[in-house]
């Protein structure tokens, strides 16, 4: 029965930590592996390895430490992905990945604030901008497919998507800056 108590504790601990970390881990992966389906596969492999190696993670470590640990696992899966495909991107991805991972670890503290700001900013989005964004991120459709569905040109969809993304980015940064000033 002691074992059962430990099992539950460990499973719960992993679940909580992974819930906190998974968006950051996916952010690192999708910043490099930009094909959605492939990024998904890499995330899945990283999560499986994180589970199997969980006993090497210090249980006293906090959520931030776990996120860093999980990102380190994802890093190797990213490199493995490029190496296995033998693409010409492998070399400069490998050269830059360390700095990118460092950067994600450094901005880790902003994660929750940025998510909350994004939720607020999303409420301001309506109409076609919202539709295009939903189809791109919610359904994972590419520009051409969205254009066919909405009866627009691909160029037009691209402009709407970029403009909406930029507006969201400015809104999130503005809210964070205002929050910092208010505090």
């Amino acid at each position: 029965m002691v074992w059962c108590a430990m099992e539950r504790e460990q499973v719960t601990r992993f679940t909580n930590l992974w819930t906190h970390a998974q968006t950051s881990v996916f952010a690192v992966i999708s910043s490099i592996v930009t094909n959605f389906a492939d990024a998904e596969d890499v995330l899945q492999k990283a999560s499986t390895i994180a589970v199997s190696k969980f006993d090497t993670f210090d249980l006293d470590g906090d959520e931030r430490a776990f996120t860093g640990w999980a990102i380190a696992i994802a890093r190797y899966e990213i490199l493995r992905y490029f190496r296995d495909r033998g693409t010409d991107r492998h070399e400069f991805v490998a050269k830059s990945l360390g700095q990118i991972v460092d950067a994600f670890n450094e901005i880790g503290a902003e994660h929750i604030e940025r998510r909350e700001a994004l939720n607020q900013c999303m409420q301001q989005l309506q109409g076609r901008s919202r539709d295009v964004l939903q189809k791109r991120y919610g359904e994972g459709l590419k520009t051409g497919a969205i254009a066919r569905l909405l009866g627009l040109s691909a160029g037009n969809v691209s402009i709407i998507l970029n403009r909406t993304y930029r507006k969201l980015r400015e809104c999130v940064d503005g809210r964070l800056a205002a929050g910092v000033e208010a505090s």
């Binding site: 992993f14 992974w18 999560s47 210090d58 470590g61 189809k135």
Partner: protein, 476 residues
């Protein structure tokens, strides 16, 4: 012309050209603020996916309960213009939308099975003694006197901890495969798996492929590895960086000044000074070579060559056997023929114990080379002896020309002239012949070597590297 934000957005949507992606990553490497800006974009991208895929999943769930409204994916499927590739992409994307929630459930399931398997072994889940977020292991210590704190072989370190050595040598093996050797007096902080700080002392780092980007900051300079081996010596407020293999970036903190150093180059940086190119000098690191290579001890004639110069076939000495590690840990992709596979003393070729090291095995390789001087005219004969002890078992020795030549391309880097027929052991059993012995515990090799004019003695040592992190694979 696109600005960098346009390129970032295009890249994240998988719509940037290869040249744009190359320019983007160059920009990311230019300074940490660029990298952080890129990370913030990617985080927003990831948060949008998570939030909107969650909404989409909820919407699909409602449809499945009877609303009957076709989804965009279904509409696209009904169109003949939609390519099969897009179809696959849409299907896989739907899989992603469940993944962010599903990985959690899957993770828990796998965790439970892992735990169940452990229980079947009746073994407790024991957390090894370690510092919070440890990511490196103390692999070897030699004559160490610690300052604050005290560490022993096999201790786990990391998580912002600092090693302070008053004297002695310590070798650390990072979980990423990076191997760092420190010589005291030295102070070394382990910030993260990829980021460390050397405040004082002497350090060598060997960074295998796939762990590129490993960084060592000193008070004077930031050194970022690009897949290489390098050394740093801090002396009188000056950091000297020497590159043994590959390339490193050296950059002044809080300044745009940086320089790329290549194999055989060195630079010196004082506080507030510029980066000055200096002559390469491996001598200060000489005591660190054997430790950083996994050699525990040696007696007699052995001399450790730095990873520079790479080509060692022209290194000569009448009484020294040169030891040279060959590259990083390698996983054998096919069986490797060795001439000696069993402990024992060998003086004759017919008594050797040939075998194969099986494919899939992780190994390190070393060249032992006795290459006496000769002037090309006088008849000379040189003889020397010595023994060398490795920190891991020796799996086999390659001592004959055919196997030396056949294995040369599998351990590139040193070019010890294996193609030459007279570079092998002469196991004739007579007084001029060579004798080699492998100890019962397979860790010590003893050599008694004789080399007449124009001959040299060459041995390739294959050492077990099972469990080392410096490999091609990191999977479970």
């Amino acid at each position: 012309m696109k600005n960098m934000e346009d390129i970032i957005v295009a890249h994240l949507h998988d719509e940037a050209s290869i040249d744009e992606v190359r320019a983007l990553f160059r920009w990311v490497r230019e300074n940490p603020e660029n990298a952080r800006e890129f990370a913030r974009h990617a985080l927003l991208h990831s948060q949008l996916r998570r939030q909107l895929s969650g909404e989409h999943r909820a919407s699909e769930s409602l449809d499945a309960q009877g609303a009957g409204r076709p989804t965009s994916t279904e509409l696209l499927k009904s169109e003949t213009v939609v390519s099969s590739a897009n179809n696959t992409s849409a299907k896989r994307w739907r899989r992603f939308s469940y993944l962010m929630a599903g990985t959690l459930a899957a993770g828990v399931l796998v965790a439970m099975s892992v735990i169940a398997l452990r229980n079947s072994d009746k073994r407790p889940i024991v957390q090894p003694k370690q510092r919070p977020s440890a990511f490196a292991t103390v692999a070897q210590t030699i004559d160490v006197v610690w300052g604050t704190g005290s560490f022993h072989k096999s201790d786990r370190v990391g998580g912002g901890g600092t090693l302070e050595l008053q004297q002695g040598i310590v070798r650390l093996e990072f979980d990423s495969g990076v191997r760092v050797t420190l010589q005291g007096p030295a102070k070394f902080e382990l910030v993260t798996l990829e980021h460390t700080k050397l405040t004082s002392g002497l350090l060598t780092a060997s960074v295998p492929p796939r762990a590129e980007g490993f960084r060592v900051d000193t008070p004077q300079v930031e050194v970022t590895d690009l897949g290489t081996a390098f050394g740093i010596r801090i002396d009188d407020g000056t950091s000297k960086v020497s590159v043994f293999d590959g390339e490193v970036d050296v950059a002044l903190p809080d300044s745009a000044e940086k320089r790329l150093l290549q194999e055989g180059e060195a630079a010196s940086i004082g506080i507030g000074n510029e980066i000055e190119t200096t002559d390469f000098d491996g001598a200060p690191f000489e005591r660190l070579w054997p430790v950083s290579s996994g050699i525990e001890a040696s007696t007699g004639a052995f001399r450790f060559t730095p990873p520079w110069p790479r080509r060692i076939r022209f290194v000569r000495s009448d009484n020294e056997i040169f030891v040279a590690p060959e590259g990083y840990v390698t996983t054998l992709t096919e069986p490797l023929k060795v001439n000696i596979s069993e402990p024992g003393k060998y003086a004759r070729e017919e008594s050797l114990s040939p075998s194969e090291v099986s494919s899939g095995r992780m190994v390190r390789s070393f060249i032992l080379h006795f290459h006496p001087e000769h002037d090309g005219r006088r008849r000379r004969f040189a003889r020397t002896t010595g023994s060398i002890r490795f920190d891991r078992p020796v799996l086999g020795l390659i001592v004959l020309h055919r196997e030396l030549a056949a294995s040369a391309d599998r351990f590139p880097g040193r070019r010890a002239g294996e193609a030459l027929q007279h570079r092998q052991l002469e196991l004739t059993g007579n007084r001029a012949g060579d004798v080699v012995a492998l100890s019962e515990d397979r860790r010590t090799i003893s050599l008694d070597l004789g080399a007449p004019t124009r001959f040299s003695d060459l041995v390739r040592v294959i050492v077990d590297a099972t469990g080392d992190q410096q490999t091609e694979s990191t999977g479970p």
